[in-house]
Symmetry: C2
Subunit: 93 residues, 2 copies
């Protein structure tokens, strides 16, 4: 049986990646709302995705407020697609 990438096999990280696969970019606040996660948890998981090279995290400003935006990388896109393929063999899809 295929290995399931442990970086992606986590509910919150998978949710974040799932969102990022369908948009150009998404910011911290949006991801937090969409995933209904706590800020702390989200922050940690974004770090892990970023450290793995699956997303880029950019800190900027929206007016005077800080704004953290995320984008999936090419590596992340590939990892996600491979994860989906691996999972299919478990789910009988």
């Amino acid at each position: 049986m295929k290995e399931l990438d442990p970086i992606l096999h986590s509910q919150l990280r998978l949710a974040v990646m799932s969102i990022l696969m369908n948009v150009e970019e998404a910011d911290f606040v949006y991801l937090k709302e969409k995933t209904e996660s706590t800020a702390g948890n989200l922050s940690v998981q974004l770090d892990k995705l970023s450290t793995a090279g699956y997303i880029t995290v950019t800190k900027g400003f929206a007016g005077k407020k800080t704004r953290t935006t995320c984008q999936v990388t090419e590596l992340g896109r590939k990892a996600f697609e491979q994860y989906v393929e691996a999972l299919k063999s478990y789910l009988n899809l």
Copy 2:
């Protein structure tokens, strides 16, 4: 976003369930080989699935050797199907 049943969202437990969904029953040794897990890990995860009511574990004999066989329950079958549905929304399938 839908919740992913934490009992199923574990590589080894998911692998076991995936196997059991397609066969009448499977024994410990077979599951261990198929999943390439250690006996200890498998034993623990079978317990969890059993405690959740997702599988039944029956201890019997094959000749003089002990033989532990597992079967998925109706509850387990439903949980697995719901898990698949929930995952689909993450994977864009």
